[in-house]
């Protein structure tokens, strides 16, 4: 069964990779399996300087999901290049750097520095857990276009833009990013949510709000990918609540070219190798003879025009 996808900058042996922020810089999961089994490795967000992130508690559990407000904790782009990337050099699978910032200049700096060490950049304009930057870029199409253009200019590798679901017009955001030069899209980041402690009478997360992830948000992710797919001709990496090979197929049918798994790693650290192992059987059971064949399969082909099909 052919599981490969050939996306800008990314020769994927299979369409399964970690979602940024749920996999740190790879070392921890390497204790469970060989990371070369993965379609790609996606790193925790990098910013210009080091960031401690938000105060704890940073996570809360919700029905079929969780909230997180890590707040972009990371040692900064230079320290990542120096201390984290060398470990990953031993792996052949493509690496994707997730980058974030408070200003366009910070995004540019990080992109410029890290892009010579990775196969692609995932531009995080949608992190809901930082005060400045992040989310504003993610909900205003013209701001998004600006940062995409700037980063494209500095990056040596293709740029995927990670979209926020906290918008009334995901299609508009996607099209604005494509027009600004994005090579691909990652969808979706987390939905902004909150949990309140009844005993302490205040939000549980120190940051008050956090990002909702996990199976709870899967229907929103599927809808947004399905909605965007006919309107862009760049590939979509799909994520949001994936737990199984069946879920991966659902994302492919919606229009994703590849998929990422986040929160499910916390329940089952072996979930990605298990999904990759099961995927050929699942595809076959539903009558597909390759991953490629399934992509966009839920769309009425006659309505779909400028599809991405490498």
């Amino acid at each position: 069964m052919n599981l490969t996808r050939d996306l800008p900058g990314l020769k994927l042996k299979n369409p399964v990779m970690p979602a940024s922020g749920c996999f740190s810089f790879g070392k921890e999961y390497a204790a469970f399996y060989n990371l070369d089994q993965l379609g790609a490795i996606v790193l925790k967000a990098a910013t210009g300087g080091s960031r401690f992130g938000n105060k704890t508690p940073r996570v809360a559990e919700t029905s079929s999901g969780m909230l997180n407000a890590i707040g972009l904790q990371n040692p900064g782009v230079d320290a990542i290049i120096e201390n984290e990337l060398p470990f990953l050099e031993g792996f052949q699978t493509p690496k994707i750097a997730n980058i974030a910032g408070s200003t366009v200049e910070e995004y540019e700096e990080v992109a410029e520095k890290i892009s010579s060490h990775v196969s692609a950049i995932e531009l995080n304009i949608s992190c809901p857990n930082v005060k400045e930057g992040g989310i504003q870029f993610g909900t205003d199409p013209s701001l998004a276009a600006e940062v995409v253009k700037a980063v494209k200019h500095k990056s040596r590798v293709p740029v995927y833009v990670k979209l926020s679901p906290n918008t009334s017009d995901i299609k508009g955001m996607a099209v604005a990013c494509e027009q600004a030069g994005a090579d691909g899209l990652s969808m979706i980041n987390t939905l902004t949510g909150m949990q309140i402690m009844k005993d302490k009478r205040k939000p549980l997360l120190a940051n008050k709000t956090g990002g909702l992830s996990g199976p709870a948000i899967k229907p929103v992710a599927i809808r947004m990918i399905y909605e965007v797919y006919p309107h862009v001709s760049i590939p979509i990496i799909g994520m949001g609540g994936i737990e199984s090979a069946e879920d991966v197929l659902e994302f492919l049918l919606a229009g994703a070219q590849a998929t990422a798994v986040g929160t499910a790693n916390f329940r089952n650290p072996l979930v990605m190798p298990e999904i990759i192992e099961n995927l050929p059987d699942v595809l076959e059971r539903y009558g597909f003879s390759s991953v490629q064949e399934a992509i966009g399969g839920a769309h009425d082909e006659t309505n779909v025009s400028p599809l991405y099909s490498p």
Binding site: G21, C22, F23, S24, K27, E28, Y29, A31, F32, K44, F52, G53, T56, P57, R58, V59, A60, E61, T62, S63, S64, G65, M66, N68, I70, Q73, G214, P215, T263, N265, F266, R267, N268, P269, L270
Partner: protein
């Protein structure tokens, strides 16, 4: 560190809202130190695992004690002998073991369980072990007898309904060479302030992955850096982290 389905061999009530679960393990799960923990899967719709300290272990069993604090741990009480539970562990760094010392163990509430395995290990290396265990009231007391096999045990209850009355900090004594503490942050703060000898404390933070990959459980260190409780802890030297 393994991910495995294990069979429940016993799941019994120890005290008010407090249960002890023993599961069958095999040689593949090698526990290195008392104070390590396991990350336990609970039933849906609860999504995250629950971190629980290893209370004690043998070559082919592992025991942990859980308080039914919220709805997730409550689902564990439904498990009967023969049912399966999924564990990730052993995780983190536990208590380093001294020799020939007068050791003071301090446990508060669900901070008591890891003291059992610790006392057992300490008793093997010629230490003189005392334990001060604090509970809210008599109904919540557990492990007095079990710990007495390895340590000189003092029970303290907040309401005085059993043992000494008050907080553990009022009954610590003066002659320990080293201390080990696990319990609420307030207790840890008081203990590290009161005792001048070296000591180790076990921290709690809400966790996602429990293996160091998500940065949910970060704490600031006294030297301005940060650590992850799950991977760098949960046990730290007493002056390593900034207590919240």
């Amino acid at each position: 560190m393994k991910l495995l389905d294990v069979e429940v061999t016993e799941n019994r009530k120890l005290a008010e809202d407090t249960y002890e679960m023993t599961v069958a393990t095999d040689a593949s799960i090698s526990i290195e130190q008392p104070g390590q923990f396991v990350h336990v899967l609970v039933d849906p719709p609860h999504y995250l695992r629950r971190p629980l300290s290893i209370a004690s272990w043998t070559e082919d069993t592992l025991t942990f004690v859980y308080k039914t604090f919220g709805p997730g741990t409550k689902t564990l009480t439904n498990k009967r002998r023969g049912d399966e539970v999924n564990l990730l562990g052993p995780l983190g760094n536990g208590f380093p073991l001294p020799e020939d010392q007068h050791v003071l163990l301090i446990g508060g509430g669900v901070g008591v369980p890891p003291m059992k395995g610790l006392a057992e290990e300490l008793s093997r290396t010629n230490n003189n072990v005392s334990a001060v265990l604090g509970f809210r009231s008599e109904a919540e007391v557990f492990y007095e007898r079990e710990l007495s096999a390895f340590a000189d045990v003092t029970i303290v209850t907040e309401d005085g309904s059993y043992g000494k009355s008050g907080l553990v900090t009022e009954w610590l004594g003066k002659d320990a060479d080293i201390f080990y503490a696990c319990g609420p942050n307030g207790m840890l703060k008081a203990v590290t302030k009161t005792l001048e000898v070296p000591g180790y404390i076990s921290m709690e933070e809400r966790m996602g992955c429990a293996i160091g990959a998500c940065f949910a459980c970060t704490m600031e260190t006294c030297d301005g850096g940060y650590v992850n409780v799950c991977k760098d802890g949960p046990v730290f030297p007493k002056d390593k982290v900034v207590l919240p």
